[in-house]
């Protein structure tokens, strides 16, 4: 837990981090499972045709990789967080490479709200903030629709008092 300075907890006194919904873990796992299923089926068909042990080894490797990715996904979702300060939005994410983005509301060009099919089934959405700089990445996945709508409206309202984002 936080030492003197934790990479994911800057300015701990002034910032209140919101976690993303835990349901995102399920969404990520389902997405992962689908890919795993496709790969395993493909390799299984190969095994049925070829009857070589290499195919089975492939399946084992895929499953192992899937297990590892699942643990990473679970932890990555927990690492994801956002915070709204008076003048900017903070988004942190990443496990191996940790990233924190600070995007001033005044720099916002537009806001995207997207939801994939699995996300929709679980009632989640992704809010993404775009600035004029292509490098800025402020993306908050796994928000319940009402929270996504609230965030979107707040962002646009805060961004509106400045017509020009440059």
């Amino acid at each position: 837990m936080p030492t003197a300075v934790d990479a994911l907890q800057p300015w701990p006194d002034t910032v209140q981090w919101h976690p993303v919904s835990r349901k995102l873990i399920t969404v990520e796992l389902i997405g992962l499972a689908i890919w795993q299923g496709i790969l395993v089926i493909g390799l299984g068909v190969g095994w049925l045709i070829g009857r070589q042990w290499g195919w089975l080894a492939g399946i084992a490797a895929v499953l192992l990789l899937g297990l590892w990715r699942a643990t990473v996904a679970v932890r990555a979702v927990r690492a994801w967080g956002y915070a709204e300060r008076d003048n900017d939005l903070l988004v942190r994410h990443g496990l191996v490479i940790r990233r924190l983005s600070i995007v001033p509301y005044a720099r916002m060009q537009f806001v995207d709200v997207t939801a994939g099919p699995i996300e929709r089934a679980f009632g989640l959405a992704t809010v993404q903030l775009h600035t004029a700089a292509a490098a800025s990445d402020a993306q908050v996945p796994g928000l319940p629709p009402e929270e996504a709508a609230r965030l979107r409206d707040r962002l646009t309202a805060l961004g509106e008092d400045r017509a020009e984002g440059l």
Binding site: A4, V5, A7, P10, W11, N87, D88, G94, V96, I97, R98, R99, L100, S101, I102, V103, P104, A106, R107, Q109, T131, A132, A133, A134, A135, S136, D137, A138, R162, E164, G165, L166
Partner: protein, 484 residues
């Protein structure tokens, strides 16, 4: 079309409203011919030497002719269907036959305007007008081609309309037909220096080796076929292309400043480019000291304007040069012009902590970052050194990242993103310092935004510089936290 459908913007003088009634205009009638000629080159290049060998010259000629006629007809049709029109504060362009496209370009989003004249256009007295708009991943709306006079007039008009302050819309170019308003020359690069500088590139150094290798190859095999030689020459040209293209592109580089405080750049030999960049559109400046140029103490400057997509290394097609080659004095002068109040000679940066040596065994002292009253300065690069200046007022977002190795060493990297595609990167700072730096950047950016950033394109440095309270606390800020 009349201007009545878009009543004048509030606060905008009605000077242009009457002129807005101009109907849809076509491009210059010669443009399909030029486009056709251009595609002829592409066709020949695409067919390559191999095809020539297979088909024989006569068939080859027929194929080229057929394709060229087709291209000409196609460009004729697209010319017929292309038109542009200035309506209120918008430039409207419609084009296309199969996929029709109507675009309205809001001129207050205009970042810079460039007038390009490729060789053929120079011979025929035509020019291409390219507009850079925010959000476009590539150059929006190249109007090719217009007559030079028309293009210059249109450029002036567009820039006038895009001006944020009413003064700039009224003052400088009362006579738009004049094309170039009374601009004060700032700087010019001598062609001799440009040539020498491009000879001092890795490509130019490697060329003799390549030539020697090819010649020995031929002597060994003893076959001197035309195709072989032609292919070799083409390959050689490919290698040499970059320096040559740079020389051609930056030939007789001249910089001036017009009464409105905008930067006028003009350069090129086979293709002349003349670019107008309002100073408040400059997003970042990068200074590069290439390895081989250090002999002469030379450097080059690049200018970031939003709308140019992120320039890649070695990609030379963009128009982002502020100075193709020059010495410290020239760079200092130009930086002082583009970013008023910034003095290159005083821009020192503080290096990252000593333990970064584990990540960068050599060249540690070329990494660094520094906060100045108006700009963030970062340096990196061992062989070819680079320095990036991002004004706080243009900062788009701040990012802090930390990889696994950095976590072990308690380091983090801070990115300051600007709209031009380049970010200033303060690599491998101490974690506590990185957070402080990010926080400070955000705070300074906010303050710089609040003070309208030199909004008047007046020649004077912005009032922000003296009022900036950041200077005194710079020193304590950069005192690194006591090491454990």
């Amino acid at each position: 079309m009349t201007a009545t459908e878009t009543p004048g913007q509030p606060g905008q003088p009605g000077r242009h409203e009457s002129a807005e009634g101009t109907g849809r205009q076509r491009l210059h009638p010669l443009s399909p011919l030029l486009h056709g000629a251009k595609s002829l080159f592409v066709i020949v290049a695409a067919l390559s030497w191999q095809t020539l060998n297979q088909l024989g010259p006569v068939h080859f000629g027929i194929v080229v002719l057929v394709l060229a006629v087709g291209a000409l007809i196609f460009s004729l049709i697209s010319w017929w269907n292309t038109g542009y029109q200035v309506v209120a504060r918008e430039l409207r362009i419609n084009e296309g036959l199969v996929w029709r496209r109507h675009r309205a370009i809001p001129l207050d989003r205009l970042q810079s305007v460039e007038l390009r004249r490729p060789l053929l256009a120079q011979l025929t007295g035509l020019a291409e007008l390219r507009l850079e708009v925010v959000g476009g991943s590539k150059t929006e709306a190249p109007l090719a081609y217009l007559s030079v006079r028309e293009a210059a007039a249109l450029r002036e008009r567009l820039l006038d309309l895009s001006g944020r302050t009413p003064e700039s819309a009224v003052a400088p170019s009362a006579d738009p037909a004049a094309g170039t308003p009374g601009a004060a020359p700032l700087f010019s690069v001598r062609n001799r220096e440009l040539l020498i500088s491009q000879l001092l590139t890795p490509q130019a150094f490697l060329l003799p080796i390549g030539v020697a290798w090819v010649i020995t190859q031929f002597v060994m095999e003893g076959s001197w076929t035309f195709i072989g030689i032609a292919s070799t020459v083409t390959a050689m040209a490919g290698v040499l292309l970059q320096p040559i293209r740079r020389v051609l592109r930056d030939w007789s580089f001249r910089l001036a400043r017009d009464p409105g405080g905008r930067l006028l750049l003009r350069y090129g030999l086979t293709e002349t480019r003349s670019q107008v960049v309002p100073l408040h559109r400059v997003q970042a400046v990068r200074i590069t000291w290439p390895f081989l140029w250090r002999l002469n103490g030379w450097l080059y400057l690049q200018l970031d304007v939003a709308g140019y997509d992120a320039p890649e290394h070695g990609n030379d097609t963009g128009s982002d040069r502020l100075l193709p080659v020059g010495d410290q004095h020239a760079a200092r002068f130009l930086i002082g012009t583009v970013l008023p109040g910034v003095d290159l000679t005083t821009l020192a940066t503080s290096p990252p902590p000593e333990r970064v040596r584990w990540l960068h065994p050599i060249g540690l002292r070329f990494l660094g970052a520094g906060l100045y009253p108006d700009v963030l300065v970062t340096r990196e690069g061992r062989v070819s050194r680079e320095m990036t200046l991002v004004p706080y007022a243009r900062l788009q977002s701040v990012r802090v990242t930390q990889g696994p190795l950095q976590r072990l060493l308690r380091l983090a990297t801070v990115y300051a993103d600007a709209a031009g595609g380049r970010s200033a990167v303060a690599r491998d700072r101490d974690v506590a310092e990185a957070w402080a730096l990010a926080d400070e950047l955000v705070r300074r950016a906010r303050r710089a935004r609040r003070v309208p950033p030199s909004s008047a394109p007046a020649a004077d440095p912005p009032p922000a510089a003296p009022a900036e309270p950041g200077q005194p606390d710079d020193d304590p800020f950069w005192q690194r936290p006591a090491r454990a």
